[in-house]
């Protein structure tokens, strides 16, 4: 079997919460050795966020934390202790990449800023990511992705035009930033391998995420049009909505993106008379009459079984899906088929479940095994095996309270 794609990559990871750990998780899935530094005194915030094992909050129970950190080497370090400094610097010498997501002054205060680290290892690649970037009047602004989602403009445009913003779920930009963080690290590695130069990457979560609003920002810039909350409506397609079905809080999403799909929807509805109706026959006509279309579809779907309806519509090539609840996602046949869920061992619960790799590489697939990312689980491995510390030195560090 071929070695894992990133088996030669070593990452010293100070990132926390979701956006950062979600980025290095992908590198770990494909073989990178990621040493994740955590404080035993002040846990990563995601350890206090669910979903929790058996619904019980607890630092070693967060499914979110396990999901973001599976496959990493978990090291506890008290960075306020002087002796922790030499451990960090040894890890910097060991690493190809150092990542951090503190507010910009933190690494400088510890003497772990890029200028200091490159003196120790000139080829080091360092990624610093925070909400607003390392410079500017808001550089020190700290928080989570729900705040960057508000600032970047996502929150304002999720919801109904006649109601306050509902906002995208949770810390939305935390789910965008990982793609850019990981791509940035991999590109910098490629550059270092070819040119021999390391570098510092300053990635603002808000700035990267604005690429997910590109067309709306250009529309505002060029046409002066401010994107509004439009429920589930689309500027290009109609009908386009989430319609009620039989059952409590049950819905089906239907989106017609061309005339063929419209024709087929009409015949599934048993309303072939609508195909040629002039007020619906072209995309522009359908957009103009979408109130009427939404009413028509809601009337038709509301007594029907959403899952059966999904099959009937999909059989005719109409984009549609029953809306599944979070609890039902685990049994989603497509996700199951793709191996989306993976079992890990857990010292307390025997097993726990995380998501697998979201994509597949045909020749060198992801390897997601091992145990959940419990606090300090790899202290011994990191110090002894990766850094070659003697048992005596490790005992000394333990006694000095450095590994906390």
């Amino acid at each position: 079997m071929a070695p894992q794609p990133l088996s030669d990559i070593k990452v010293l990871d100070f990132m926390w919460a979701i956006a950062g750990p979600g980025s290095t998780r992908m590198l770990a899935d494909y073989g990178a050795t990621v040493v994740r530094v955590e404080s035993a005194h002040r846990f990563d915030a995601t350890r206090t966020v669910g979903p929790f094992v058996n619904g019980r909050p607890g630092a070693e129970n967060s499914g979110l934390f396990f999901n973001m950190n599976v496959g990493k080497r978990m090291l506890t370090l008290d960075l306020s202790k002087e002796k922790a400094r030499s451990v960090v610097l040894d890890l910097v010498r060991w690493a190809d990449v150092v990542t951090e997501s503190f507010s910009p002054k933190a690494m400088r205060a510890w003497g772990f800023d890029y200028e200091s680290l490159r003196k120790i290892k000139p080829s080091i690649i360092m990624l610093s990511t925070c909400l607003m970037g390392q410079t500017g009047p808001m550089a020190q602004y700290a928080g989570f992705g729900n705040l960057a989602a508000a600032i970047a403009g996502f929150t304002n445009i999720a919801g109904w035009s006649d109601r306050p913003p509902a906002g995208p779920f949770g810390a939305y930009t935390d789910y965008i930033a990982p793609w850019f963080n990981a791509a940035a690290i991999l590109a910098a590695l490629e550059y270092r391998d070819r040119i021999g130069l390391g570098q510092h990457i300053d990635l603002s979560q808000a700035e990267a995420s604005l690429h997910f609003l590109g067309s709306a920002l250009l529309d505002a810039e060029i046409n002066g049009k401010v994107q509004q909350r439009t429920g589930n409506r689309d500027i290009n397609y109609a009908p386009h909505g989430v319609y009620p079905t039989a059952g409590v809080d049950r819905w089906i999403a239907i989106a017609v993106t061309n005339d063929d799909q419209w024709n087929n929807l009409c015949s599934v509805m048993g309303r072939s008379d609508l195909i040629a109706a002039p007020h619906f026959s072209t995309p522009t006509a359908r957009l103009t009459h979408q109130d009427q279309l939404d009413e028509l579809l809601s009337m038709w779907t509301k007594e029907k079984d959403p899952f059966r309806l999904e099959q009937e519509l999909q059989a005719r090539g109409v984009p549609a899906t029953a809306v599944r609840s979070m609890g039902e996602m685990y049994n989603d046949p497509q996700l199951q088929h793709r191996g989306h869920f993976v079992q890990l061992t857990h010292p307390k619960y025997e097993t726990t479940t995380v998501e697998g790799s979201r994509f597949r590489l045909s020749r060198t697939p992801a390897n997601i095994t091992g145990s959940a990312a419990t606090i300090g689980k790899d202290n011994q491995y990191v110090l002894e095996t990766l850094l070659g510390y003697s048992e005596e030195r490790i005992t000394e560090l333990v006694a000095a309270g450095v590994l906390e």
Partner: protein
């Protein structure tokens, strides 16, 4: 950083951002469109609201740093050209339905025979295989199938999406990462592979792991206007301000409690709560997620206090104080407010690109990161239809002007 590498971007209207990310990182990306132009060029919004293949802002937002050529893969001569290009390319990105390009001899197996080192990236709604692999899709359908939709919206209405399509942007971002992982491996092994990206699985990331609720034995997370319902607890994130809305993290427990302590200090200073409320143990209040009815009732009282407080201040007042006191408060901004951001201006975020065909310069969202040694550069504005045909077919592939004209005439390009 990726300047030695060539990307053939065959994506349809879905998956365009992947090539743009690689292009921003320096790769030579050739966007290959059917004669007449990509279907993505028909998507609104448009420059000055004029539907025109070279004026789609959806196209502009996702095709910078690419050169553009037209090529007909349904024509045997067109396929011969793509096979020739594939010989020296490093990446192919495509987003057709599974098997569609294989039927035109441009699938992974076909191109890997020509160039075994090729990294071939397929971006599809549900992945290359499985019971829904051939499902018809759209942004809305993917967001519903991947989970984020059901978590978003007012509880008394249908779940909602973000009003600007998101699903294929997530899939594209992920595809760029996956392509670069396969590339790193190729640098050692000399061999390429097939990268299979499922948009459904990509957007599942935006559920914040809530889709693990089932196997973990956790309560279902449910949508709530401006927040989320976890069992009986209604966690609120969007709050009223005097002149709009703000996002406030009114949260508790060991990691968040100290933010709330500072917030309630301010709320008290402004006379909006009593001392007992200010001095609550906000770390211990994290036990709210255990679902005790008395704690939940108390939480609802506190929500009322914070709501009355936030509604009495403007977005700017709340942000200013958030910066001073390190609070979890952010203004809910419109796209227009984003364009006027002082922070983005101070960082010289926006990048101007010249559109000679319009005699105008347009301001685009800037590089997604600042690299100290190899800064990202915006080299090309999004190409007009077939803009680089001559450059690629004549200058690089060695066709004569006459041959190019002939190919155009018979519909090869």
């Amino acid at each position: 950083m990726l300047s030695p590498y060539r990307v053939l971007d065959l994506t349809t209207e879905r998956g365009l951002l992947c090539g743009q990310i690689l292009g921003d990182l320096g790769a030579d990306v050739i966007k290959i469109e059917p004669p007449g132009g990509s279907p993505a060029r028909r998507l609104a919004p448009f420059y000055h609201d004029e539907p025109h293949p070279d004026r789609s802002l959806y196209w502009w937002a996702n095709n910078r740093n690419k050169r553009g050529i037209t090529l007909n893969l349904d024509h045997a001569d067109g396929r011969a050209i793509i096979h020739r290009l594939a010989k020296t390319a490093h990446f192919v990105i495509e987003s057709d339905n599974p098997g569609a390009l294989a039927r035109r001899q441009c699938g992974y197996a076909d191109l890997a025979t020509i160039n075994p080192a090729l990294v071939y990236v397929s971006i599809t709604p549900f992945g290359q295989d499985g019971p829904r692999a051939s499902y018809a899709d759209s942004d809305l359908v993917i967001l519903a199938a991947g989970g984020p939709l059901v978590l978003t919206g007012d509880e008394d209405r249908a779940p909602v999406r973000v009003s600007v399509p998101q699903a294929y942007l997530h899939a594209s971002g992920q595809a760029a990462v996956a392509a670069l992982i396969a590339h790193h491996e190729r640098q050692r092994s000399g061999r390429g592979q097939h990268v299979d990206v499922s948009a459904q699985q990509a957007v599942a990331q935006a559920t914040q792991s809530s889709l693990l609720a089932g196997p973990l034995g956790e309560r279902d997370f449910q949508r709530l206007a401006g927040g989320v319902k976890m069992g009986p607890v209604k966690v609120r994130l969007v709050w009223p301000a005097k002149d709009g809305y703000v996002s406030i993290g009114f949260l508790f427990g060991s990691a968040m409690g100290h933010f709330t302590k500072r917030l309630m200090q301010w709320v008290h200073e402004e006379g909006c709560c009593d001392e007992a409320t200010r001095d609550k143990d906000w770390v211990a209040f994290g036990s709210i997620f255990l679902g005790d009815p008395a704690t939940i009732k108390e939480y609802e009282r506190l929500v009322g206090i914070v709501e009355r407080f936030s509604a009495s201040k403007t977005k700017a007042e709340l942000l200013q104080e958030a910066l001073k006191r390190a609070l979890l408060i952010a203004p809910v901004q419109t796209t227009k407010e984003v364009l006027a951001s002082e922070q983005l201006a101070a960082r010289e975020y926006w990048q101007s690109l010249e559109h000679p065909e319009l005699g105008q310069t347009i301001r685009y969202p800037g590089p997604f990161a600042k690299f100290s040694a190899a800064p990202l550069r915006y080299r090309y504005r999004p190409p007009t239809v077939g803009e680089h045909n001559r450059e690629v077919y004549v200058d690089e592939l060695g066709f004569s002007e006459q041959q190019v004209e002939e190919m155009q005439h018979v519909g090869v390009i």
